[in-house]
């Protein structure tokens, strides 16, 4: 079952890559991409570790959690994108307005 751990580490890597991009990049659309990749990383950790169980059928509860997570992620993305577009309409830039820094 070591392949599960391989994918778990990939998930951790995705999470950290996304977190790096989130902190370092200023463009809001990229931050949204970063959030989605972080989310995918966490889902990968959840599902990969679920494959540890000895049965042929993996643990379904993390699968259900991930499906819930995907729907929540698309909801958040849709809201975020609309907010970004409104902000761009108002300020002309797709970055956080300077207000005491970030």
């Amino acid at each position: 079952m070591n392949v599960a751990f391989l994918y778990t580490l990939v998930g951790v890597g995705l999470f950290c890559l996304g977190l790096y991009a989130l902190i370092v990049q200023a463009h809001l659309l990229r931050k949204i991409l970063a959030f989605n990749i972080m989310g995918s990383g966490i889902f990968l950790v959840l599902v990969a570790l679920a494959k540890r169980s000895g049965n042929a059928i993996p643990d379904p509860v993390p699968h259900a959690m991930v499906i819930t997570g995907i729907v929540v992620a698309v909801s958040a993305t849709a809201l975020a994108l609309t907010l970004i577009l409104k902000l761009t309409t108002e300020t002309g830039k797709a970055e956080l307005p300077d207000e005491g820094g970030e």
Binding site: M1, N2, V3, A4, L6, Y7, L9, V10, V12, G13, L14, C16, L17, L19, Y20, I23, V24, A26, H27, L29, R30, L33, N36, I37, S40, L44, V47, A48, L49, A50, K51, R52, S53, G54, N55, I57, P58, D59, P60, V61, H63, A64, V66, I67, T68, I70, V71, V72, V74, S75, T77, A78, L79, L81, T82, L83, L85, K86, T88, A94
Partner: protein, 318 residues
């Protein structure tokens, strides 16, 4: 046998590395359009990974929602921002991080340490653990469906699904409350038109199939709903708009139907058994099917409406 295991390991290793590489490229690519396309490719590769990890339900959801709809939302946002910034600089080619080099190195080092710590913690887990699969398997026959993931989503942990449908509805309410956005440039394309004519019936059939088969095989309301929303997105792209007499009350009813039915069933079960969402085992399968059917329609309409962005009867004047 060893050759097979070596093959599997190299496949998995390659898949894992590709995931990391694609994600990195999507995050640091200078051209935003290219970044979004890479992200969609990443989503599809994730769907492949889910299949590899024996999670076909998630693979369906990821392909439809995670890669498909999210990608559509991102591309639509890019297109609209081009309209917004028609006078100014294009949103597409924007220089990367506006941060100092030392700051980026500091963050990178800290995150490397965090990743190492998390990796060490995760590797310390026991290599075999059943989690809740034994409990699920033991109660599966009582749940009314044969697919364990559907059983968890719509019976054992149905309360989470109720709240999740509320989150989806909330996202739409929030997007509508933010007001109108510049419309994408209308496109008349004969290829698109014939594709739409061909694909819409297919998508509706696929959606119905996923809904029906989700009881005992991979599938279910979310997957079916997202395929239905893909049909909706195609229609919207081809220039179709909801007729005005359907755009007020009927649309709103369609949007709340899923959550509303959920609440109705919740209240019914509460009154009859005293416990929230406790289905009588004999009717569990039927109740779940009803829930899933209405939820499919709601999810489809909601996701398509999220893609459209503004309420159909939105007035520009506040």
């Amino acid at each position: 046998m060893e050759a097979l295991s070596l093959l599997q390991w190299s496949f998995d290793g390659l898949l894992g590395l590709s995931l990391l590489w694609l994600a990195w490229q999507a995050l640091v690519c200078t051209d935003l359009f290219k970044a979004v396309v890479l992200f969609i490719a990443f989503g599809l590769l994730m769907a492949l990974t889910w299949v590899r990890l024996a999670a076909p339900d998630i693979a369906l959801a990821e392909a439809a929602i995670g890669a498909g709809l999210t990608g559509a939302l991102l591309l639509s946002a890019l297109a609209r921002s081009r309209v917004i910034q028609a006078n100014g600089e294009s949103l597409l080619n924007v220089p990367l991080a506006a941060r100092k080099l030392q700051f980026r190195w500091l963050v990178a080092i800290i995150l490397l340490i965090v990743a190492a710590g998390l990796g060490y913690a995760v590797l310390g887990l026991p290599p075999e653990a059943a989690g809740l699969s034994t409990e699920v398997a033991a109660n599966l026959t009582l749940s009314g469906v044969g697919n364990p993931v559907t059983a968890v989503l719509l019976n054992f942990r149905a309360y989470d699904t109720l709240l999740e449908m509320a989150v989806l509805l909330l996202a739409l309410l929030a997007v509508w409350s933010l007001g109108g956005l510049p419309q994408r440039e209308a496109v008349t394309d004969p290829v698109l038109d014939s594709l739409v004519r061909l694909l819409i019936p297919v998508l509706i059939l696929v959606s119905a199939y996923l809904l029906w088969v989700g009881a005992d095989a991979p599938g279910g309301a979310f997957q079916a709903g997202s395929v239905l929303s893909a049909a909706g997105v195609l229609l919207l792209l081809a220039g179709w708009r909801l007729p005005l007499r359907l755009a007020q009350r009927p649309l709103r009813f369609a949007l709340v139907a899923g959550t509303g039915t959920f609440i109705a069933i919740a209240v019914l079960t509460l009154i009859s058994t005293g416990r929230l969402l406790e289905y009588p085992p004999a009717q569990a399968g039927t109740l779940i099917l009803i829930l899933e059917a209405v939820a499919t329609i709601s999810i489809g309409v909601t996701l398509a409406a999220l893609f459209q962005g503004a309420s159909p009867v939105h007035k520009e004047k506040q």
